[in-house]
Structure formats: structure tokens, C-alpha cells
Amino acid sequence: MQTLDIISVNLWQILISLANLLIIFLILKKFLYKPVKKVMEERRQAIDSDYSEAAEAKRQALSDKKAYEEKLSGANGEAERIIRSAVEAASFREKEMMDEARAKADGILRKAEADVVLERKKAEADIRREIVEVSTLVSEKMLRREMSADDHKRLVDSFIDSIGDGDEAE
């Protein structure tokens, strides 16, 4: 087998070698740099989006927390307001009820008094009517038979007594 001299310059071999380097350059660019850089870029984007998502979530959480705190303090005030108004309403209602009850009691009392007065008047009227009847009766009896003044008086007294007895008996 033949061999080259230790230094032998050949134009075509130089060109082949030049082309070889270019081909290796293209191979490395296409099969090593491009895919790996693509993946690295994807990772960078994923990390970026993760970070922005995290920041967004943190912001959201903070605003939520603020809103809750506001709501909580608002709720305290609200509760106080509700209690106050409830107390007011209750006291108002209590007063109203008391007034109503008092008025009702007054009414009952007044009615009772009126009843009593009416009854008395009725009783008085009854008594008067009875007295009138009785005196009429007595007058008839007196007219039917003459009586002495004493008799008359006695009679009237006894009658009245009897009435009083009768009343007591009743």
C-alpha cells in the first residue's frame, strides 16, 4: 500500500477538509445547538410564566386578605349596629307594649267603674221603681182603708223594715 509523503500539499484534500468543517458546523448547529437551545428557551419561558403566575397568585392572595380584613372589620361594625338597633327596637317595643297594657288596664278599669256606676244607677232606678210601686201599693191600701196617722206611720215603717229585711234576706 502506498503512503503519502509526510508533507504533501493537495488542493483537493484541502477543499475536502474545508467542506468537512462546514458540514460538521451545520451538523452541530442543526442537531445539537438548535434542539438544546429550543428546550432551554422553552424552560426559560416556563420559568418566566411560573414566576409571573406566582406573583399574580401572591397579589391575588394579598388583595383577598385585605378584602377579608375589611369585610371582617365591617362585619364587627355591622354586628354592633344590628345589636344596637335590635336593642332599640326591643326597648321601643317594650315601651309600646307597656303603654298598650297600661291603656288596656285603664280601659278595663274605667269600664269597670262605668259598669259599677251603671249598676248602681240601675239598682237605684230599680229601688226607686220598687219604692214607687210599693208606695203606690201602700197608697192604694191606704186609700182603700182609712188609717190613722200612727197606723200609717207604723205601716210605712214596718214596710220599710220588711223591705230592709227582704233586702237583707235577699
Binding site: N10, Q13, I16, I24, P35
Partner: protein, 297 residues
């Protein structure tokens, strides 16, 4: 994609085969074609066949074949490394290739500036091709970088890039650059321009080749020493070059691994410095501004 699935593993195995088979293939070719060495022989690459071409016939040698095999191997490595990339980076190989990419981009940015940040794949390809080619000598193969033509091709590509970026400052400025600092310096400046690729090529090629030459010389010297001192041993025992055990391995550590990687790094470094040094940033900015103004008018 599930990295535990059978399909994934089969594809992985195919990529690994794509990495390993070219090297195996190169070994087989070497074993089948290499003429049995007789004593010390320091020669260039073996010629498999010669193609008739205009200007100069093209001999296809081990340097070319090994370069192509290394390229296939690198392609397999790339495919293997980028197989199963995920955003979460579940595979260790993904971390490795991300590390490689970040390191090369940082290196390019540091020594070339932001304008050349797209040069990372090019520098990485120089590093990979040079390093893997030189490391072929670990397998006892002929490293393509010990052939001047291979490295000269790369250096000429670098020279083309250097000139391209020098021309970015304007053709007249490029020509004027040769007359600086004074007119008499012009021939020296032209020489210096040509010297850049030549020095790059010779530095790389010379280092790798000298490593191989020294390895051969030392192996031969140790064989001679061995037969001189241990030649009295009975039977075939005296024929065995015992002294060749050990020392060549340690030297190979330096000449094959350290020197190979070092030269790849130096070549890449010089490429970066020369290309970025050739680019006249201020002049380029000025011209750009002028063009913008013209377009506005």
C-alpha cells in the same frame, strides 16, 4: 416521551452504534490494509485509491476516510445527546449538552464580543473535529490532524472569515490597512496576513504529527534497549520488548490526549481572536450609520 420505553432504548442503542461503529470500521480498515511495519517508518497517510481530478489528482487517504468516520461519529454523538430532551431535563446527557452549549457560548462571547455570539457552533465544531480527530491516535489509528491538508483546509476557512470581516469595514479601508503604520511595511503586512493561516495550520499539524513521530521513535528505542539488555533470555522470551510496557502509555497520555486537546483549544482560541480582531467595529458602525442616513434621505 418515556425514556424507559423499549422504543427509546432501541433508538438510543442505534445512536450509540452510530458513534462506535465508525471507529470500529476505521480499526478494521487499518488492520486490513496496513502493511507490516519494518523497523522505523515515518510516513504520511496511506493512499487507498487516487481519483483523477483537474489540476491535481486526488488521493483518498486514511486522513480523509478517518475524518469522515469521525464526522459520522460526531453526528451520532449529537443525536444521542439530544435524544429525549425535555424541559425538566430528566436525563443526565441533557445536562451535559446544556453545559457544553453554555460554556462554548460564554467562551465565544467573552473572547469575540456580542457581535459574534452566533459563532458558538462554529467554534464548537472546530473543537470537536480537531479533538476527536487527534484522539483517534488513542486507538492506534492515523489521526487526520497529522495531515497538513486537513488542518490547512480549516485554516483557510478561518482566513476567508478573517478577510470577510476585514472587508466589512470597506474595501478601501481594507487596502489601506496594509500600508500601516508606514507605506514601506506593505510587503511585510501582506506576508503577515498570509502567515496567520499558515502558522495556525502548521502549529496544529506539527504538534500532532510530532507526537506520533516521538511515539514511534520511543517505541523503537525501547525495543532496541529491550533486546540489548534482555536478549540473553532463553527461547522467544528475549524477543519480547518488555520495556515497551508502561512508558509509551504514559507518553501517550501527554502526546495523544493532552496535546490533542490542547491543540484543538489553541486552534479554536486563535480562530476566535483572529476573526474578532479582524472586525473593525468602529468603521462598521460608521458605515452602518451612513447607510441609514442615506436610506432616510
Amino acid at each position: 416521551m418515556n425514556e424507559k420505553s423499549l422504543r427509546f432504548r432501541i433508538v438510543d442503542a442505534l445512536y450509540v452504534a452510530m458513534m462506535a461503529l465508525p471507529i470500529l470500521c476505521a480499526l478494521v480498515i487499518q488492520i486490513l490494509t496496513k502493511a507490516p511495519g519494518e523497523g522505523i517508518s515515518i510516513t504520511g497517510a496511506q493512499i487507498f485509491f487516487t481519483l483523477p481530478m483537474p489540476l491535481q489528482p486526488l488521493p483518498i487517504t486514511t486522513a480523509q476516510v478517518n475524518t469522515w468516520l469521525v464526522m459520522i461519529s460526531i453526528l451520532g454523538l449529537c443525536l444521542y445527546m439530544t435524544h429525549g430532551l425535555t424541559v425538566r431535563a430528566r436525563l443526565r446527557r441533557q445536562l451535559l449538552c446544556e453545559w457544553i452549549i453554555e460554556k462554548t457560548e460564554a467562551m465565544v462571547k467573552e473572547s469575540m464580543g456580542d457581535f459574534f455570539s452566533g459563532y458558538a457552533p462554529f467554534i464548537a465544531s472546530i473543537l470537536a473535529l480537531s479533538a476527536f480527530s487527534s484522539l483517534l491516535s488513542l486507538f492506534g489509528l492515523n489521526p487526520p490532524t497529522s495531515d497538513i491538508n486537513v488542518v490547512a483546509g480549516w485554516a483557510i476557512l478561518v482566513f476567508i472569515l478573517i478577510t470577510y470581516y476585514k472587508l466589512k469595514g470597506g474595501f478601501l479601508n481594507y487596502l489601506k490597512g496594509f500600508t500601516e503604520p508606514i507605506f514601506i511595511m506593505t510587503p511585510l503586512n501582506i506576508l503577515g496576513e498570509v502567515a496567520t493561516p499558515v502558522s495556525m495550520a502548521f502549529r496544529h499539524y506539527g504538534n500532532v504529527l510530532s507526537g506520533s513521530v516521538i511515539a514511534v521513535l520511543i517505541a523503537a528505542a525501547l525495543q532496541g534497549l529491550s533486546s540489548l539488555i534482555l536478549g540473553w533470555l532463553p527461547g522467544g522470551l528475549g524477543e519480547i520488548p518488555f520495556f515497551q510496557i508502561g512508558l509509551p502509555a504514559i507518553l501517550s497520555l501527554y502526546f495523544d490526549i493532552f496535546s490533542g486537546l490542547m491543540q484543538a483549544y489553541i486552534f479554536a482560541m486563535l480562530t476566535m481572536l483572529n476573526i474578532s480582531g479582524a472586525f473593525p467595529q468602529d468603521e462598521y458602525e460608521k458605515r452602518k450609520q451612513k447607510k441609514l442616513l442615506k436610506n432616510k434621505k
